[in-house]
């Protein structure tokens, strides 16, 4: 028997580190997010797809996104709505700023307690840090089991879920009982595209802060459609100890950031002319590097 579930997908808006310019860092050594294209963290899209498939096969299931970031991270919730999620929350507050993975997990876990889901799904890691820490840290804070590196749900029913995990040198099939935390690998199915119907329905979904920039007619239009409201939660909306949020709650500190300096070697420049290549190969053979 299947039953309806409440699923929360943790998703992060990340700077597209695959394409970074020189103004990407501030003088203090933190990321200058404003200078970079912001994208939906790739593995979090795989997590969303896994949640949406559980929703497809278990009628009545709801999928909500939870994202933490500045105001513009509301894009993450909208993107989720366009692809089939039912709602989402933006966790945003200046007091969350400067959080390392531990303080991030703490804030997320406080928000998750308020949402009270049966299942939490997150991408394995985010491309701006590649730490893969937040999923397991959230699970620990909630006192829940975790299954990391999931690439496939094999079966689900009666609160039991069986999944295949991708390890570095193999695969493992494991079974757990809800509630629990899953982290999803890039080897899991890719996320479905935006759905035209949902795009029409949710294109005006906005947070309260975003609405403030609009005129009164628009606000009125918006207030008549409560499904367009993206809740914005700050420190006062979740129960938690303030000293565990943000920079204060972060045990790790950045001591120093350096731009990359190579130890410059005495490098010989060669052209692609036959003579250059032939003399290089002869030299490598003579000094037993090759051959």
């Amino acid at each position: 028997m299947t039953k309806s579930l409440k699923i929360v997908v943790l998703a992060k808006q990340v700077p597209d580190t695959r394409n970074v310019g020189k103004d990407a860092m501030t003088a203090e050594g933190t990321v200058n997010r404003a200078a970079l294209p912001a994208i939906f963290n790739p593995e979090d899209l795989h997590a969303l797809e896994l949640a949406l498939r559980l929703k497809d096969s278990n009628p009545g299931t709801t999928v909500e996104l939870l994202t933490m970031g500045p105001g513009r991270a509301a894009d993450i919730v909208r993107e989720g709505l366009f692809r089939g999620a039912d709602g989402g929350v933006l966790l945003t507050d200046r007091k969350f700023a400067g959080a390392d993975t531990l303080a991030t997990s703490y804030a997320l876990s406080c928000a998750i307690r308020k949402l009270n889901p049966d299942l939490i799904v997150a991408g394995r890691q985010a491309i701006d840090g590649d730490t893969a820490q937040v999923g397991p840290q959230v699970a620990e804070k909630l006192g829940l089991p975790q299954i990391t590196y999931v690439e496939e749900v094999i079966s689900f029913g009666n609160d039991a879920i069986t999944v295949q995990r991708r390890l570095e040198h193999g695969v493992e099939t494991v079974k757990g009982r809800l509630p629990l935390v899953l982290t999803v690998n890039a080897s899991a199915p890719v996320c479905r595209p935006r759905n035209a119907k949902y795009l029409m329905k949710y294109k005006h979904a906005k947070t309260v802060s975003e609405l403030q920039a609009q005129d009164s007619d628009y606000i009125e239009f918006h207030q008549l459609r409560t499904y367009l409201n993206i809740p914005e939660w700050g420190v006062s909306d979740i129960e938690g100890e303030e000293e565990q949020f943000g920079l204060k709650g972060s045990p790790t500190k950045v001591k120093k950031v350096e731009n990359v300096v190579f130890q410059v070697k005495e490098s010989k420049k060669l052209s692609d002319a036959d003579a250059d290549i032939e003399s290089l190969i002869k030299e490598l053979i003579a000094n037993h590097t090759i051959g």
């Binding site: 099939t173 190579f262 053979i285």
Partner: protein
């Protein structure tokens, strides 16, 4: 108390290379800090495993031996590590950045509210003065490329213990002690740490694959980046590697683009290699990549961009197109080798 702990991974009684590499690094740090190096092994049928760990410098080996502890499962291992760390209060705790270590270490750090730095490429000891004038002696400096490899960050945990870090396999050197020594075994009472609820996740099936591709031990690596342009163009690299008796590596960008398998990825989030010869083809040279190959004995770069950063660490940089250069290399190698 306040020693350095290394969590040692085992599979069927064999200690993982990454753990032996961490012990090698750990004993250097322990010497600098004048403290002991302690190993923690959690698994089954571990008798005798301590001898190998002494050989890498462990002064104390903690063994948690129970049939339920192998293969690895998150919760029971977390309970043991957290329980032991609460008693022993290590100043530093090191884990492999393997699928196991990256599952376990964040869980432990969350339970202990202690900071954790992932995928360090260098670990050092140093002092720190913060902007309020507080001075800290002998902190673990956790150095890692960050932000897609565009910068190198030094991370510290000034106020929380243990200072925790993960390191990928192959990043640190593995070296036995010149003079073998012995140490002390401490058998842990597993039931003191582990609860029945820790076994709620059951492992139904496991398939471990042999490592088919092993570029780490190859003396010659021909590596390709995004600049190679396509999966088809990688066949040129395979041809050169096979002629020279080497293996093919790839940058993260090339792997992300689907040009090569992940097992071939060289760099911070792949493997670290130190071959006799590294030929970097169409690789720009982000730190993310160079962190994993800069100790190669000789580096040749082939790039159409004469200003590619990789050229700064290359012994030879050939400016030109791969499809032109590689066939010439093959031709002259065949003509000149015996």
């Amino acid at each position: 108390m306040n020693n350095i702990f290394v969590y040692c991974e085992t599979e069927k009684g064999k200690i993982a290379d990454v753990s032996l590499e961490l012990l090698t690094k750990g004993r250097e740090l322990a010497k600098r800090l004048d403290c002991k190096l302690e190993a923690l092994v959690i698994g089954h049928q571990l008798a005798g495993v301590e001898k190998e760990l002494y050989g890498y410098g462990a002064d104390v080996v903690h063994l948690a031996d129970d049939a339920r502890l192998e293969p690895y499962s998150t919760l029971p291992h977390t309970s043991i590590v957290v329980g032991l760390f609460k008693e022993e209060k290590p100043q530093i705790a090191l884990f492999g950045a393997s699928s196991l270590g990256r599952d376990l270490a964040p869980r432990v750090s969350s339970a202990l509210k202690s900071g954790l730095t992932a995928d360090c490429t260098s670990l050092e000891i140093g002092d720190h003065k913060d902007n309020k004038g507080n001075e800290y002696k002998d902190l673990l400096l956790q150095i890692r490329p960050a932000f897609g490899g565009n910068i190198i960050a030094t991370i510290i945990n000034p106020d929380h213990r243990p200072q925790m870090a993960t390191v990928r396999e192959g990043v640190m050197r593995k070296e036995k002690l010149a003079e073998p020594k012995t140490g002390e075994v401490k058998i842990l009472d597993v039931n003191k740490y582990v609860k029945d609820e820790d076994f709620v996740i059951s492992i139904i099936e496991r398939h471990l694959e042999e490592r088919k591709i092993d570029i780490k031990s190859s003396p010659i690596i021909v590596s390709g980046g995004y600049g190679v342009g396509s999966k088809e163009n990688f066949s040129l690299l395979f041809e050169l590697a096979s002629v020279l008796g080497g293996e093919v590596g790839a940058s993260r960008a090339a792997v992300d683009a689907g040009y090569a398998e992940h097992a071939r990825q060289v760099g911070q989030t792949g493997v670290t290699v130190r071959p006799k010869l590294y030929i970097a083809c169409g690789i720009s040279g982000q730190v993310q990549h160079t962190a994993g190959m800069q100790e190669s004995a000789m580096i040749i770069s082939i790039n159409s961009d004469s200003n590619a950063p990789i050229n700064q660490i290359a012994d030879y940089s050939i400016v030109g197109d791969l499809s032109n250069v590689i066939p010439k290399m093959i031709k002259y190698y065949r003509a000149n080798s015996k």
